[in-house]
């Protein structure tokens, strides 16, 4: 069948069973949008800014395991999308971004709305393509989906010049992709797995540390099986929350810069560490020299060889797809007669119990001011711990991670790697489209929310019943916290003057707005929002204690056991 390039793009997306395309039209994608207009197999979600299109597609993927798809025009359409693409890249989220480009003959002539899309996005995509011949279009899109979702996932961009989307050729969607230069592994090396199990069973102070890789590869159930069977303590990174149930007694909390005392101490003091789909980044283990002061054997399972021994030397690397490797581990474990020494493990749990007794997440309650931690605790209660929570970046993000106990994967959606303020609202939109029946709440702050606030308009257009929890402390809270702790209380540009009236703002966009100023009103407001206004978007502006800080905290450059606790101050 002979189709135009624009029609081919649409057919390819249909072949990939795409449900939603998040995008914004413009000059160089007009032929593609024209072809889209004539079909009804997938829906297009018109955002108000291209950054939001990418974030929404990204959260659609994070909350569903499907590939997120977005479409933007050339030039500013692409540059606006870059923040979203870099966000997805840092957290390894599978996306396909279709971008328009000026006509082939104009490329390089500084044409209207021209930019070097392939060049600009190269460092923040898994791969990108410029389509120069309409005959390559279908195969390129097929490759883009394949690359995005296989191996270590990531965003893939396809740049399509306007003339290509108007030229015609025979459409034939390839059934499969063969690339001699790209062959991601799945199975782990069985000899390495055997070595790993021996180390684990001989360990006196074992620890399991898992990250976003467990969520991305849907390995949660296998992880639970393995950890239960071993009886070892487990911690999750910010990206890995929900990979292991937070309410289980073997879970010692999130680790890292704002991790729990017990998680960080156990991580530092363990003698055998099993790292799964995590990358030992600076916010997780802090100073590597300090981390290396204590001898421990490290086993690292990851699909990306370059994640292994990048910041920390690993003793037993296992390259493979996490669920496949965990499957093999469980099978091998059946065949091994040796068991952990129960006395040693009990003594280790005893040690962890003393760390736990610090109760590091306790905070000072107030009957005058709303403590932000309280809002998250109440949010957890009111939603029964069963909501999809998206967040922006800053103090509110850490409190959400600390106080909302995630028992299931794909419920905690945040920008962990890039730390993108403005992520949360479009992410909530994407999560809703992927899970229309789920409760979706955004935990944000008055600074972050203003970075993509225009999306309240998109939410109105598509009637998205998102609940926005705005922890309003009138400061760039995390910046203020660092300035208080490390810059002599000099609050350079962290006070946000002239905030809008968020209630009126929400109403102006056609939503429900609430302002909550008293601690006693927190729960009732949440209940009203989640029950009475179940089908509305409710913007809850919580006026919180301005001085609240996130604890425990490891200062930048410090080691895991050098935490500052709330009680130390």
């Amino acid at each position: 069948m002979v189709l135009t390039g624009g029609e081919i793009v649409i057919r390819c997306l249909q072949e990939e069973k795409v449900e939603y395309v998040f995008g914004y039209p413009g000059g160089s994608v007009l032929f593609i949008y024209d072809a889209m207009f004539k079909q009804d197999k997938f829906k297009h979600i018109l955002v108000r800014h291209e950054q939001a299109a990418v974030h929404a597609a990204d959260a659609y993927s994070r909350s569903s395991q499907k590939v997120g798809v977005c479409m933007v025009t050339s030039g500013p359409g692409v540059t606006n999308a870059v923040t979203g693409i870099a966000t997805a890249y840092m957290d390894s989220i599978p996306l396909v971004i279709i971008s328009g480009q000026v006509p082939t003959a104009y490329i390089g002539q500084d044409a209207f709305q021209e930019c070097d899309t392939v060049g600009i996005t190269r460092p923040c995509v898994k791969h990108n393509f410029l389509v120069k011949d309409v005959k390559d279009l279908a195969a390129t899109i097929k490759k883009a989906f394949y690359l995005a979702k296989t191996g270590r996932p990531g965003p893939v961009l396809v740049d399509i010049p306007k003339d290509i989307s108007n030229q015609k050729c025979e459409f034939d969607y390839p059934k499969s992709v063969v690339m001699r230069s790209y062959n991601p592994v799945t199975k782990g090396h069985s000899g390495q797995i055997k070595k790993a199990l021996q180390l684990l069973l001989d360990a006196k102070r074992p620890m399991v540390y898992t990250g976003g890789g467990v969520i991305l590869s849907d390995a949660s159930s296998k992880l639970i099986k393995l950890v239960k069977r071993l009886g070892f303590p487990i911690t999750n990174t910010l990206m890995g929350l929900g990979g292991y149930p937070a309410t289980d007694k073997q879970f010692v909390g999130m680790l890292g810069m704002h991790g729990t005392y017990e998680a960080n101490m156990a991580m530092q003091n363990c003698d055998v560490l099993l790292a799964i789909g995590a990358r030992f980044d600076d916010r997780v283990i802090g100073n590597t020299a300090h981390f290396n002061e204590i001898q421990r054997k490290i086993i690292h399972i990851d699909i990306d060889p370059s994640s292994i021994s990048k910041r920390v030397r690993v003793d037993v690397p296992i390259v493979g797809n996490v669920p496949d490797v965990l499957d093999d581990m469980l099978k091998q474990l059946d065949a091994i007669e040796a068991k952990s020494d129960p006395k040693q493990i009990a003594a280790w749990w005893q040690q962890i119990a003393t760390w736990r007794a610090k109760n590091c997440l306790k905070y000072k309650h107030s009957d005058k001011l709303i403590m932000p931690q309280l809002v998250i605790e109440k949010l957890y209660e009111v939603t029964g711990g069963d909501a999809i929570i998206t967040s922006d970046v800053g103090q509110h993000q850490m409190w959400a991670a600390q106080y909302y106990k995630f028992d299931k994967p794909r419920r905690w959606i945040n920008s962990g790697g890039l730390g993108t303020m403005g992520y949360g609202l479009p992410a909530a939109m994407g999560a809703h489209f992927a899970n229309p029946k789920a409760t979706v709440a955004l935990v944000t702050g008055e600074a972050s929310i203003q970075m993509c606030i225009q999306e309240l308009s998109t939410c109105k257009q598509f009637r998205l019943p998102i609940k926005i929890i705005n922890l309003n402390n009138r400061y760039l809270g995390m910046v203020r916290q660092w300035q208080e702790m490390f810059h002599g209380n000099r609050y350079a540009e962290s006070y946000v003057d002239a905030l809008p009236d968020f209630v009126k703002l929400a109403e102006a966009y056609g939503h429900v707005g609430m302002q909550i100023t008293k601690p006693g009103d927190v729960e009732a407001a949440l209940r009203t929002a989640f029950t009475t206004h179940k089908n509305d978007l409710v913007f809850m502006d919580f006026i919180t204690d301005q001085t609240a800080n996130v604890f425990p905290m490891i200062a930048a450059g410090k080691g895991l056991s050098e935490m500052i606790l709330a009680e130390d101050l």
């Binding site: 190269r122 898994k126 690339m179 230069s181 060889p305 370059s306 021994s309």
Partner: protein, 163 residues
């Protein structure tokens, strides 16, 4: 430590910038980089000379392997190999220097490939050290212009980098 990394990659537009972009983005060192198509026109062979600790070189090879268009990566310096670089040097060749230049070129097994009344262009191949030694032997006062290709290398014997 100095390493010679050999890469086989798809001969496609933009592949070179993916490699060079990787080095600058991750603050890896490039001493030299050469690239040209192989006997199979769909593939290019690239040789990069880099300096770094073993950990850094390990990361470099892993990161290179991660690039979609890279087919194979080998650290040639891990095993016996040969390396060569081509250099063209334009030198002043007048008066008594004229004879001397010819003699030095002969000693280094260089060839004079262009002659004018006042200058020679000398072609020389060898490893880094040999080319450096030649330049030193001539002395900077007489060198008008130097062009070096950067190192290309190949494994000895049965070590073959091929698809």
């Amino acid at each position: 430590m100095r390493h010679i990394i050999s890469i086989l990659l798809e001969n496609e537009a933009g592949a070179l910038s993916r490699v060079s972009g990787l080095f600058s983005a991750r603050a890896y060192n490039i001493e030299s980089l050469t690239v040209a198509p192989t006997e199979d026109a769909s593939l290019s062979r690239m040789t990069i000379v880099s300096v770094g600790s073993d950990d850094v070189i390990e990361q470099i090879t892993k990161q290179l392997n991660k690039l979609i268009e890279v087919v194979k990566v080998v650290d040639l310096s891990e095993a016996p190999h040969v390396e060569r670089e081509l250099m063209l040097v334009k030198v002043r060749a007048t008066g008594k220097d004229r004879e001397e230049m010819k003699r030095v070129a002969d000693i280094f097994r260089g060839r004079i490939i262009d002659v004018t009344e006042s200058a020679y262009v000398i072609e020389l191949t060898g490893n880094n050290a040999k080319l450096d030694a030649f330049l030193e032997a001539i002395g900077s006062a007489l060198i008008l212009e130097t062009v070096r290709t950067g190192v290309c290398g190949i494994g000895r014997g049965d070590r073959i980098l091929k698809v």
